[in-house]
Symmetry: C2
Subunit: 161 residues, 2 copies
């Protein structure tokens, strides 16, 4: 970027971007910590477990363990442990993969779908509340800037995405 | 927030905030993953180690292990392991705490300060590059909105901050 330095009077742009990054990190870590806390106290659940259920809820035919861990950047071992507990609790089922005796898929049971629906509804309300500092008028512009950041980031780090 | 629904035509605000949150999370996770990758390949280091050195670099008299872990939300065990390696490499020193035989402080050596200075300079350049999608004109408004988000978040989650 060769844009002229206008955002701050005397500070180099790199310092302004660094401070912005620290705020971005603080905001996402703060929201995430609060989500973890509420999932634990309200649903006796965790963020990785919520994410696994969210992935399964969008896949009525189920997903392989490897597909879940790829989508969520969660290790295969963690996914396996989470699925085991969901199966024990009657919230998920394991299915054989035709033609591959060593692989299994998992999908949510009807009860699992119901449980996740309640958690997802609470999660949406929490996010609405935690991000309430962003007014309705600011949501669009902020979203546009994050899109620019993400699209630049994807160009800049093709192998990391 | 009871602001009228203007940002998106037909979508409830809570859905717009949810999508914004997913972008915010993707942006911070993406930048963080790239920082981890570069710290590893360029400096054979890690993000927790970088953060510990950053805390020590700002404390010429050194810090107790407990002070470091409080500041960084890193576990005491992790901090101890990182300090041990820094001491082994001649980058940090352990100091006794007068009046408390069981506690120790750590501080960077002159070499540790030099090494960290180089890493911090690279880190600032990386952030400038990775956040380059945000133009200089947009940095101020984005920073203001993140301040609003953070200040609302602190009100909303007093015990989590």
């Amino acid at each position: 970027m060769t844009a002229p330095q206008t955002a701050q009077q005397s500070e180099p742009l790199s310092k302004t971007r660094l401070r912005l990054w620290l705020k971005l990190l603080k905001a996402s870590a703060g929201v995430e910590a609060e989500l973890r806390r509420r999932l634990r106290t309200e649903f006796n659940s965790t963020l990785p477990r919520f994410d696994v259920m969210a992935a399964l809820a969008r896949a009525p035919d189920g997903l392989r363990m490897s597909e879940i861990s790829e989508r969520l950047r969660v290790s295969n071992g963690n996914v396996t442990g989470i699925i085991e507990r969901l199966v024990d609790e009657g919230l998920a089922l394991r299915l054989a993969v035709p033609g591959d005796r060593r692989a299994t898929r998992a999908r949510l049971t009807a009860e699992g779908q119901q449980v996740f629906k309640a958690q997802a509804a609470a999660h949406e309300i929490w996010i609405d509340e935690l991000l309430g500092g962003i007014s309705s008028e600011d949501l669009g512009p902020l979203s546009t800037r994050l899109d620019q950041l993400l699209s630049h980031l994807e160009q800049d780090t093709p192998d990391a995405q």
